[in-house]
Assembly symmetry: C2
Homo-oligomer: 455 residues x 2
C-alpha cells in the first residue's frame, strides 16, 4: 500500500476532478458507501478467486479468548463477519436495493472510492486503489451508451491522452456462437478470443479446441478473427454472417444505433471503433461492452484504461430482479502511471503542490504587514504562505525552491515604507517592485496563463 | 456505518471543499496514507480504550485451517497483523518519519480521509467517519497558531456558522498546577476542570478532592474557576497569579502574542476568547490548545466542532524526536448535523444534487437535436441531462421534480423548426421560449444568482 505525497495528490486530484466534473456535466450524481460490508453481501460475488482476495475484518472484542474457551469447532464467522469493499459495483447494487424507495429511476450515479484486494503486490497492482465508476440503472435506452462514449472522449481529451475507444455487444458474441453451432460454449469462446491480441491466432485456436469447440466451428470463426475493416465494413460483414441469428441481429442493430449517433459528434481526440470480438471476459455483460486503450506513440502501455458495459440484472442477487444498467469505470492508477511516463503532468503545469506565493519572514515587525498582505492575496484566490520563522534568507529561499513555490515576496522595512513590494519569480530569477494591487494582478495573470496552456 | 445519498454527498462535499480550499489558501499541502497500517504502528498509541476500538484485519490465506492444525497456542499475530486507520495523526507521524528525507521542513500538510473505530454506534458517533486535519510540523513559530485561527474563522464564516473560538496554553495549566502546589497532579486537575461547563463547580471540586488534590489547592483554584472576564482582564489576572511560575509566564507570553496579532484582524463571524481553564483532556498538547464551539441561538448543540493544539514531540514514538508541531481537526459530521438542524443547506442553495437542466425526450428524432444542444450547455459549464427514454411527459417531469432539477427544456418538432426552445422553470412553473444562446445565458445567470446569495 502506498502513501501519496503532496505532488502525487495534486496530480491524482487533477485526474479525479476531471472525471468527476465530466460525470456531473452529464447529470450523474455522487454517492458513497461504507468501507465495510457484511460478508454475506460480498462473498460469492467475485468468483472463487475474488473470495480469496477479500480483506476480512477480525470480529471485535476478545476473539482470541473466545476461541480458546470454545469447545465446539471454530467457524469462520467466529473470526469474521465483515469485509472491505472489493469493488464499487456490488455495494452499488446493495445500495440500490436498500434505498429503492428513495430513488427515482433511472438512477444515474457515480462513485469514487478506494477498494481493497488482498492481491500479491506487483507493478501496477495495488492492494488499495481508487475506483471511479458511473452507472445508469433502470433504463434500457442506448442513449446512455452514447453519452458514456462522449464522456470517455471528453475525459481523455482533457487529460491529454489519445485513446482508442472500442465497443462491442454481447448479443453479437452470442450470435456468433450460435451461427458457428457452439451456443453453449460461448463463455469459453469469448475467453479464448479475448486473448487474440496478446497471444496470437495459433494459441487461441489451440485453446478453443482444448475447450471442446469443434474443428468446424473453429473454421467458421477464423474469418472473423482475421477480419480487418472499418466500422461500416464490419457491420456489413456481420449483417451477412449473423443473418440467421435473432440475437446477433439485435446486437448489430444496437451497435448500429450507437455508431450512427456518435458519428454526428466530433470525437476528436480518440478513435472510436466497433470490435466484434471484444469480450472482456466478464460474464455479467449482456449488451454493450466498452474498452479503452491508449493510442499514443509516447507510451507502450497496452492495458485498458477504462472498461464497462451493460448488464441486465445487477440487483437480482439482492432480491430486485429485472433492472437493467450500464456502467463504466476509469482505471485511475493506470491513467496516472501513463501520464507520468508521458510527462503530461509537466505539460499540464502540475509540477508544484503548494502555495503560489511565499512571503519571506524578516522578523516580527515585518511579518505583521505580511500577514495582512497575505490575507489580501488569499481573498483574491491566491494560495499564499508566510515562512513561519525568521530564519536565514538562504534557508527560506531553499524552502520555496524545494516546494516549487513559483513566487517569493520580500517585505523589509524599506518595502513597508514605500509600499512597493519586491517580487521574485523563482523560475526565471527575475525580480521587480510592485504595489500590492499590481502584484496580485501579476500572479493571477501568470497563473491563468499556466492554466491556459492546458486548454 | 452509513450510505451517503447524492444530496448528502453534495452537502458533505460543500463542507469538505470549503475546508480544503481554505487549507490550500494558507499553503497547506494534501497527503494521503493507506487505510491499513501495521498493528505495531497503531497499537499503544490511543490508550487502552483505543486499542480496544481498533479495527483489525484477519490475516489473508487459510487462517482457520492454520488455527486448527496449530499445536502451539494461538497468538494474536496468527490472526491479525494489520489494522484500519484510527485517526490521521499517528499515520501522519509515521509518514513524516518514513519520508523525512523527501520533506523540506516546516511541513504544512492537510489530510482528509475516513477513519474507523469499533465503537458502539450512537447518535452522532459513527464507526466510519471523515477526519479533516491540518498540521505544521517542524516549526515553533506562533505564526502557525495565528494562521490556524484565521483559517477557522474563514471556514466557519463560509459555512455560515457563528462560533466561539477558544484558546489556552498548556504551559498556563502547568503554571496553575505549580502555583497551587499540585505540580504532579496536573493531568487529574485538567481532566476535572474540563468538566466545569457541563458538571458545575460542586462536582468538579468533588472530583479534585477524590483525586488527592489538597483542600488548600482547591481553595486556590476556586477564584480561577469563578473568574469571568474579557481577554485583557484574564491576562492581567493571570499575570499576578502566575508571577512565580516560569512555565506559566511563558504560556502567558505566548497567549499574549497570539491575542495581540489576532486583534489586528477582523474576526467577524466568530468570537475569539482566551480561556485559561480550557484543557481538552489530551495529554500530548504542550503549547496552544484550541477548541471551537457553536455560538448560535439556532442550535442547542454544545459539543466542539473543532479541536487542536501544539505538541512538542509527535514523531518521537517512531524514532524522530524533538520535532514540534501544531494542528487542528474539523469535526465534519458534527458540522453537517448542525448545519442540517439550522437549515443552512437551504440558505446555501444546496437542495439539489443532480443536473441543472433536463431535456425532455420526445423520441429518437428530437433527441438527436437535444444531444447536440446538451453538449453546448455542458461546454458552457452547465450540468445537463437528457431523459434517456421517450416515456410519458408526466413521468419525465416527475423525474425532474423528484431530483430537484431546476430547469426543463422541451424540444419538439416545432421547436426544432423555429430554433426557439421552450424552457420551464420547475420552481416557479414559468415557461418561455429562447434561442439556445439566450437559454444558456438565462441558466448561467440563475445559477450565479443562486451562488451570489451565499457570498
Amino acid at each position: 500500500m502506498r502513501d501519496f505525497s503532496p505532488l502525487e495528490m495534486k496530480r491524482r486530484n487533477f485526474i479525479l476532478d476531471t472525471i468527476k466534473t465530466v460525470y456531473q456535466r452529464y447529470g450523474y450524481r455522487q454517492i458513497e458507501t461504507p468501507a465495510m460490508e457484511n460478508l454475506s453481501v460480498l462473498e460469492g460475488k467475485y468468483g472463487e478467486e475474488g473470495d480469496k482476495l477479500l480483506f476480512r475484518m477480525l470480529n471485535s472484542g476478545p476473539v482470541l479468548e473466545k476461541i480458546h474457551n470454545q469447545k465446539s469447532a471454530i467457524n469462520h464467522s467466529d473470526l469474521t463477519e465483515k469485509g472491505l469493499r472489493y469493488d464499487l459495483t456490488v455495494p452499488f447494487a446493495r445500495y440500490v436495493v436498500m434505498h429503492q424507495n428513495e430513488i427515482t429511476f433511472p438512477f444515474k450515479r457515480f462513485q469514487v472510492q478506494p477498494v481493497w484486494r488482498a492481491d500479491r503486490p506487483q507493478k501496477g497492482r495495488y492492494r488499495e486503489f481508487v475506483q471511479c465508476d458511473a452507472d445508469v440503472i433502470g433504463s434500457d435506452s442506448l442513449l446512455n451508451e452514447v453519452e458514456m462514449i462522449l464522456m470517455m472522449d471528453e475525459v481523455f481529451s482533457k487529460l491529454g491522452l489519445k485513446m482508442n475507444i472500442r465497443i462491442n455487444n454481447r448479443k453479437i458474441l452470442s450470435g456468433i456462437a450460435q451461427v458457428i453451432g457452439e451456443e453453449n460454449n460461448m463463455m469459453n469462446i469469448t475467453v479464448a478470443i479475448d486473448k487474440l491480441e496478446k497471444a496470437g491466432m495459433e494459441k487461441v485456436i489451440e485453446e478453443l479446441k482444448s475447450k471442446g469447440v469443434s474443428d468446424e466451428a473453429v473454421k467458421k470463426l477464423q474469418p472473423l478473427m482475421e477480419f480487418k475493416g472499418a466500422n461500416k465494413e464490419t457491420i456489413s460483414f456481420l449483417g451477412n454472417f449473423l443473418a440467421d441469428s435473432g440475437s446477433g441481429k439485435k446486437g448489430l442493430e444496437e451497435i448500429n444505433f450507437v455508431l450512427n449517433t456518435i458519428s454526428t459528434f466530433n470525437i476528436q481526440h480518440s478513435t472510436f471503433n466497433f470490435d466484434m470480438l471484444l469480450a472482456r471476459g466478464l460474464e455479467y455483460y449482456t449488451g454493450a461492452i466498452f474498452e479503452v486503450k491508449l493510442n499514443d506513440s509516447r507510451s507502450s502501455f497496452t492495458g485498458s484504461l477504462l472498461g464497462g458495459g451493460r448488464y441486465d440484472d445487477l440487483t437480482g442477487i439482492f432480491g430486485m430482479p429485472g433492472v437493467s444498467g450500464v456502467g463504466i469505470s476509469f482505471g485511475v492508477d493506470r491513467i496516472y502511471d501513463v501520464m507520468d511516463e508521458m510527462k503530461l503532468f509537466d505539460e499540464l503545469n502540475l509540477q508544484s503542490s503548494g502555495a503560489q506565493v511565499m512571503f519571506v519572514n524578516f522578523g516580527d515587525e515585518e511579518v505583521k504587514s505580511c500577514l495582512q498582505m497575505a490575507q489580501q492575496l488569499r481573498k483574491a484566490g491566491i494560495n499564499a504562505e508566510i515562512y513561519p520563522d525568521a530564519a536565514k534568507m538562504k534557508k527560506q529561499l531553499s524552502y520555496a525552491d524545494s516546494n516549487k513555490i513559483p513566487f517569493v515576496v520580500l517585505v523589509g522595512s524599506e518595502e513597508i515604507k514605500t509600499g512597493l513590494l519586491s517580487l521574485k519569480d523563482m523560475r526565471t530569477g527575475e525580480q521587480g517592485n510592485f504595489s500590492l494591487e499590481k502584484l496580485i494582478e501579476k500572479i493571477l495573470t501568470a497563473e491563468s496563463q499556466g492554466r491556459g496552456e492546458n486548454e
